[in-house]
Symmetry: C2
Subunit: 222 residues, 2 copies
């Protein structure tokens, strides 16, 4: 029923425009009563994004069960669940992206959804890093960077009309964040690793993000 309503709503939004479509139009198209709509969706906006609630729940479950030793890798992988949701229905995702660009109310709604993902990831990192210096600050900055990197790649894919390998683009974008903010990629976590040293030589002119790439490379990650 939920899916029938969301499909009817989306078809009408494409045909007539979002503002011009009423809830009465939607329930008439879906062949159900008006109260059914509000049982599933608090507002018309919610019917445009019916899958985020489920994706947020999947993300929480993923974070609880992930066994990656690095919390930053975990939140990067959690963010990729969002990409997979979009990539599973490319045509629908691209049409919705175009609709959202045209309707200010949908753009604002989308911002609040993005903020919910960001808060979930930040809360998770804060708990992982509890008791370390600046844990809340690092958690919020890292979560914002993860979400910005993910959305940069997702938006490029949507703008292109769903062309190209979205998974690879998101992996590349998140890799930049993981390599900057994540733990050393030796796979051993904080305990039990040999306390090896590396010696790195770099130009003093290099910007720090490039130095980080060099450090990362010296540490022997992929």
């Amino acid at each position: 029923m939920r899916e029938v309503l969301a499909d009817a709503a989306f078809q009408l939004f494409l045909e007539r425009g979002f503002e011009q479509t009423t809830v009465d139009d939607i329930v008439a198209r879906a062949g159900v009563g008006r109260r059914s709509f509000f049982r599933y969706f608090p507002s018309k906006e919610d019917a445009v994004f019916p899958d985020h609630e489920g994706c947020l729940a999947d993300m929480a479950a993923f974070l609880e069960t992930s066994d990656d030793p690095d919390p930053v890798s975990r939140v990067c992988d959690a963010a990729r669940l969002v990409l997979r949701m979009y990539a599973a229905k490319p045509e629908y995702s691209v049409q919705r992206y175009r609709l959202t660009r045209e309707v200010p109310g949908l753009r604002t709604y989308e911002l609040s959804v993005v903020r919910r993902y960001e808060r979930k990831l930040a809360g998770y990192l804060r708990a992982c890093w509890a008791g370390t210096p600046d844990s809340e600050l690092r958690a919020e900055v890292t979560a914002a960077a993860v979400v910005a990197a993910h959305n940069n790649a997702l938006r490029s894919w949507l703008r292109s009309g769903g062309e190209g390998d979205a998974e690879a683009a998101v992996a590349h974008a998140l890799g930049m964040v993981r390599h900057t903010w994540g733990a050393a990629p030796d796979g051993s976590g904080a305990e039990g690793a040999d306390d090896e040293v590396i010696v790195m030589v770099t130009s003093k002119r290099a910007p720090l993000w490039r130095v980080v790439q060099q450090v990362e490379s010296a540490l022997g990650a992929d």
Copy 2:
């Protein structure tokens, strides 16, 4: 007139609540006609945040004239204009923060304001870095990190009721971003610096953000 209307609106929002106050109430309190309100503010929400439009313009002007050689330092300093706007009226800022927490429409409005700052900073960085690899991705991730760091410190200050040194807290938070994503702090920019080398020895177990701090320290910044 604009300020008179914003003051009248804010007093009424505190006295009666945001939802319970109409535009008619506001213009009656300010002693002007209804059309005057909409000449200055597109909506009730805009009257709660009357200074952001000016701050966005100040930010653009600041970025155009800054002579700091590092674009990341420039956007960090630009972000601090927002903090200064809040810190200039501590009591008003704290009251508004509390009001915003209670009214979902104001929280959504605030998200769209934050997004406007983020887009401005990202657009500036993208132009600075045009032609370099992943310039758009780096610009968006860096802008998101700057805004998240700034807002983390600003929110802590607002939550505390305006206690403590907000400028110092924001400087500390932005320092973390600048030291991670900014150019090497030798003050010379990309051209003309001696191509000196540093040698750094670090534990392979160290998380990369800590390695960055060490690099930064080795590079001799404050």
